[in-house]
């Protein structure tokens, strides 16, 4: 039997043992924690994509308004519509990764419907970016893509830390489990950001990063919107964009998508359809927080929208008329 006297030694280096123990602990955590904890809808979606075997013909993407509107489809017809709408915090990069992961594990749908406010113009620097993108999309190919897009070493390092340390990824849940309390909001991940924009920043590295950001020709989310389009086009999948419903008086204050840019894209990519006619403008009182419709608002939205969704699903839209139908639609 080998001697265990080395554990008494004050000279033996501790580093190899620490690495060994940390690796072992993290492996156990990686097996245990994701099934027990999830912070928000993106966590749940990623698990669904990984574990559920369904092959719906339509995938629904979008922000939190889209999530809210598509919720009945998620609950009632999970095998007909894959409702992958989540939150604006994941930006277009996250939407792209979600659909990519979905396509890797499921049969190709014939259409993707995106419903939300403006999905463009963002650069992965929002309050929720860490909790919704860096913490969630940690496959090596995703890390490589985000590194290429963001061009920030600290940004990528943080994703790698989330990948390697499951205990760090679920630290807020562990805090809650151990003490019954957390030091930050699990949903937002804390989000106590330093105020920016008010005072000019003179830090040299931040200036370099800002200069790199400024030199970027198109925002990261625009770039990923195009990549999403290309990916879908390469597989013969149509993308329908439906602008989110808006309150009538705040029509102008909401961040609306640059429709000209989208129309240009639609001319270039024949699989993109901008469904401006489906955008609803409701009375102000139908929006509790100014963005998300209330119960009555949702009923009215569904009255207008549902038929469109079923039509897309059963290829009853004009866009499909010249296509050879590969399969008969299921009955409603």
């Amino acid at each position: 039997m080998p001697s265990l006297s080395f554990i008494q030694s004050s000279k033996s280096p501790a580093l190899p043992w620490i690495l060994l123990f940390v690796a072992a602990i993290e492996m156990v955590m990686a097996r245990q924690l994701p099934d027990r904890f999830s912070s928000h809808e993106v966590d749940g979606l990623i698990r669904d994509i990984q574990h559920n075997r369904y092959n719906p013909r339509v995938v629904l993407l979008g922000d939190s308004v889209g999530y809210q509107i598509f919720q009945p489809f998620r609950e009632k017809w999970p095998n007909r519509f894959a409702a992958l709408a989540s939150n604006t915090g994941i930006e277009m990069a996250g939407q792209y990764f979600l659909i990519k992961r979905h396509l890797q594990r499921h049969e190709d749908p014939h259409a993707v419907i995106f419903l939300g406010l403006n999905p463009l113009g963002l650069n992965l620097d929002q309050k929720l970016t860490e909790n919704y993108v860096q913490r969630c999309f940690t496959q090596w190919n995703e890390i490589a893509e985000l590194t290429r897009a963001k061009k920030s070493l600290p940004f990528s390092t943080r994703i790698i830390i989330y990948k390697l340390f499951t205990s760090y990824k679920y630290r807020l849940h562990l805090q809650k489990k151990i003490t019954g309390r957390t030091n930050a909001d699990i949903y937002t991940g804390g989000g106590k950001r330093k105020a920016s924009g008010k005072r000019k920043d003179y830090g040299i590295f931040r200036l370099i990063q800002a200069s790199l950001d400024e030199r970027r020709k198109t925002p990261i989310s625009d770039e990923y919107f195009v990549r999403l389009l290309k990916l879908l086009k390469s597989r013969g999948i149509k993308l329908y964009y439906i602008p989110a419903p808006l309150p009538s008086s705040e029509h102008s204050t909401h961040i609306l998508p640059p429709l000209n840019f989208l129309r240009d894209l639609a001319r270039e990519y024949d699989n993109l359809y901008i469904m401006e006619e489906l955008q609803m403008v409701l009375e102000d009182e139908r929006f509790g927080d100014g963005t998300h419709p209330d119960k009555e608002g949702l009923v009215r939205i569904h009255e207008k929208l549902d038929q469109f969704l079923w039509d897309v699903r059963s290829k009853e839209r004009p866009e499909y008329r010249n296509e050879k139908k590969t399969a008969e639609p299921e009955s409603r």
Partner: protein, 477 residues
């Protein structure tokens, strides 16, 4: 670039690797470039200021040493001190003095209508100015030879582990290290890594979690109805500021150790003290020894009788308070500690002839009472240090001494639940340090004990660390 940020971790790994493979003079050059980049990462505009101060002090140091006449020695000393103090006074205290003057004139019905200058405070200015001044004064006193190596001197001023918040190193300790080739040993990296890890634990886990408790408005005039909650906020701040600054100092020592430098110890378990003199030997040691050597002793120290000693103590502590920040709360805090030190002198004089306690139980009990009493005196000082204004501090004190409700309600149990995962660890390490007087002896523990301790600290940091931690408190000074 905070010590507890990913940016710094990446920066440090790059610097460490470049330094480890560098030959001879390139070691200092690499560290100097890294130090200026580190400083510029906060605000590049002030790199010129630190370079100006460095250049003037470097040249004056050589001239003072060369000069034979007293007047020319004094002249170069004056040039250096006027430059250093002038920069510090202008950037840090100009608005404070003009505002105070305005307020004074306002009392007499005069309104100047002057609103001060819009000045940004250069980071670490109080620290590097004091570092530079000690070098010049030591040369003037012929206690230190000037270095001719500009890179080594510039590194002494701007070395990134200590540029922002100390310790306020002495040239006699630092420059010889900078002038020699530093071979990086496993031992120094192991000790440095432990200090970094422990410093991170102190800052990100202990200080930041306690900050959440302390920032409940108690110090800003919003005193909670339950006095116990207010009291806990004060205790929380006492440990927050200690772990924040001691954590910074440990990380500074740790990063320096990984680069082959030995920086001075800045804290030695100050909260275990039971009198102000001992406290100041253990709290922010590099500042208190600086004030002793360059202010208190030149003023006369304790050489000219009781009254002069008490006066010198008060002056030293008032200036020490003002050093922390340009606000009356800091001046008051300094004065308060001066008062404590003066009181101790008088108390010692009074009790000097009394017989010491002989019964071990009575002795222990008396020591415990003294410790508890003094800890609360320190906490009263922190009220002035932390309060947003003197009015807020006074109203908090009034609320505390007026009694009020002392109830263990949901707020109190929430605070206790928050601190349970980490406070016992922090206190255990402090107790160990108090007993051994050498925190680094942890690195020579048996393997099993070391692995357990490091894992414990690591997972405390990973799980209980606070997201988006605030800046170190002392970087604002």
């Amino acid at each position: 670039m905070e010590f507890n940020s990913i940016d710094f971790a990446i920066f440090f790994v790059i610097v460490f690797l470049c330094h480890a493979f560098a030959r001879n003079k390139w070691q200092n050059r690499i560290l100097l470039i890294a130090s200026y980049l580190f400083y510029a990462s906060w605000d590049w505009r002030f790199t010129g200021l630190i370079l100006l101060s460095t250049s003037v002090d470097y040249l004056c140091g050589i001239q003072i040493h060369k000069a034979t006449g007293v007047s020319s020695r004094r002249f170069f000393l004056a040039v250096s001190l006027v430059t250093d103090i002038g920069i510090l006074a202008f950037f840090k205290y100009f608005n404070f003095f003009t505002d105070s003057l305005n307020n004074l004139l306002h009392v007499f019905g005069l309104n100047t209508g002057y609103h001060g200058l819009n000045l940004a405070l250069p980071l670490g200015i109080s620290f590097y100015t004091f570092r530079a001044m000690s070098y010049i004064i030591d040369i003037y006193r012929k206690q230190q030879e000037p270095t001719k190596d500009f890179t080594a001197f510039a590194l002494f001023i701007a070395f990134f582990p200590h540029v922002v918040a100390g310790p306020i190193e002495r040239a006699s300790h630092f420059i010889p290290q900078a002038l020699s080739f530093r071979r990086i040993s496993y031992n120094s990296v192991a000790q440095g890594s432990f200090l970094i890890m422990y410093g991170l634990f102190q800052k990100v886990v202990v200080a930041e979690n306690l900050a959440i408790i302390a920032n409940n408005g108690t110090f800003d005039g919003h005193i909670p109805g339950n006095t116990l909650t207010a009291l806990l906020a004060i205790y929380a701040y006492a440990f927050q500021i200690y772990c924040d600054f001691a954590g910074y100092s440990n990380m500074a020592r740790g990063t320096a150790a990984c680069l082959g430098f030995d920086l001075m110890v800045n804290f030695r378990t100050p909260y275990f003290c039971s009198n102000p003199r001992e406290f100041w030997k253990r709290w922010h040691i590099s500042l208190s020894t600086w004030l002793r050597d360059y202010l208190y002793i030149p003023l006369g120290g304790s050489r000219n009788g009781v009254n002069a000693t008490l006066r010198n103590l008060m002056i030293t502590m008032l200036i020490g308070g003002l050093w922390h920040g340009a606000a009356w709360t800091f001046v008051f805090w300094g004065g308060y500690h001066g008062f404590l030190l003066v009181s101790q002198r008088l108390y010692d004089k009074w009790t000097g002839s009394m017989n010491a306690l002989s019964n071990p139980f009575t002795k222990t009990l008396w020591a415990a009472i003294k410790w508890l009493f003094f800890f609360h005196l320190i906490c009263i000082g922190w009220i002035f240090f932390r309060a947003s204004s003197l009015d807020s501090a006074i109203s908090l004190l009034q609320a505390l001494f007026a009694g009020g409700t002392f109830a263990i309600d949901a707020g109190v149990s929430d605070i206790l639940a928050k601190i349970i995962p980490f406070m016992p660890v922090a206190l255990a390490v402090d107790l160990y340090e108090r007993k051994t007087d050498d925190l680094l002896s942890v690195t020579s523990w048996p393997l099993a004990a070391r692995v357990f301790t490091y894992l414990l600290l690591f997972y405390e940091f990973v799980i209980f660390g606070v997201n988006n931690a605030q800046s170190f408190i002392y970087t604002k000074f």
